[in-house]
Amino acid sequence: MTDEAEWIQLAREGDQAAFGRLVAAYQTPVYNLAYRMLGSAAEAEDAAQEAFLRAYIHLKSYDPQRPFSTWLFSIASHYCIDQLRRRRITWLPLEDEFALPVRFTSANPGPEATAARREQQDQMQQLLDVLSPTDRAAITLHYWYDYSYQEIAQTLDLTVSAVKSRLYRARRALAERMEDKAL
């Protein structure tokens, strides 16, 4: 049994420390997914915490035949999609008056590289803002988690052909937005 499988088994029996190890292992991927979906550090933090809480509550319904990451990302994606749909006007993030800074996984890039990265970061989030919640989830899972069409379909409860269509439409929309911003 792998460490992860052991932690999951212990957590299902109520071992909170074991669940804490799962949180530690997946906190960055889940937070990154939520951040890419919601575009706000504060909302991403809340959404990621809520995703883990829901995973803890429903851990007994997790099927060990399925990868734990897929199941966890499915919970996080669906929660973020619901949050985006609740935003009344558009899919743009709410005004983050006191925007929390974000940290990247690469360590010590230097000040110039950090500034360039933040600019790239902002550009990407502005591009992602044009996408529908489900398209945004598909693009995020594809580019940040290298998920195959099949894995994206399983995570988002879609068919493989639907995933292909969504990725194509999302890329087309993003490319048009890139051109608009360049003009």
Binding site: Q16, F19, G20, V23, A24, Q27, T28, P29, V30, Y31, N32, Y35, R36, A41, A44, E45, A48, Q49, E50, F52, L53, Y56, I57, L100, V102, R103, F104, T105, S106, R117, Q120, Q121, Q123, M124, I139, H142, Y143, W144, Y149, K164, S165, L167, Y168, R171, R172, L174, A175, M178, E179
Partner: protein, 176 residues
């Protein structure tokens, strides 16, 4: 093959999901269609941008906050269950205290011997009893309305106080 279909093939090409025949079709179309060539370059630029995108790290203390959130949820659930149990217990106690009243009425109206003996007269007597009970209660309640309301409010207050004491005890135990 139209440009929309070629667009879908471009997307699949980025994911290395085209076979040799499809690749040949795509390349042949791109060689002949300027608009699709431009679209293909844009998609490639987009792909480079997103492929090199960094991963955003979770805040420090994130794990601690998740565990705290789980504990708050567990505490809220226990409080709700405990409060419900306390209220039900109070109601059950009140019913036990008031239980002799209907039995006393049964005996007074002489229904008890009929119930024990059984027979066809029993149903008629039960209906007669219920009718008499209703009339008796109405007669009794009228002068007792104020004390009954007062008793009800006191019971509710006692239940709330006991609930609050119980929650306080649980919190102290948790802190310990």
């Amino acid at each position: 093959m139209n440009c929309e279909q070629i667009g879908e093939m471009m997307s699949a090409r980025l994911d290395d999901c085209l076979d040799d025949a499809e690749m040949a079709i795509l390349e042949s179309h791109l060689a002949a269609c300027d608009a699709c060539q431009v679209a293909w370059h844009k998609m490639q630029a987009l792909d480079r941008l997103f492929t090199s995108a960094p991963t955003v790290r979770a805040p420090s203390l994130f794990r601690v906050q998740v565990i705290a959130r789980i504990n708050r949820r567990e505490q809220a659930r226990r409080t709700l269950v405990g409060g419900a149990a306390l209220v039900l217990g109070t109601v059950a106690l009140a019913l036990l205290v008031l239980a002799p009243l209907p039995f006393g009425l049964l005996k007074t109206l002489g229904i008890t011997p009929a119930l024990i003996g059984g027979g066809p007269e029993t149903l008629a007597q039960i209906l007669s009893f219920l009718n008499a009970l209703a009339h008796t209660l109405l007669v009794l309640i009228e002068p007792l309305a104020v004390p009954l309301v007062f008793l009800g409010l006191c019971s509710l207050g006692a239940a709330l106080v006991l609930n609050g004491l119980w929650i306080g005890a649980v919190r102290r135990l948790r802190a310990a």
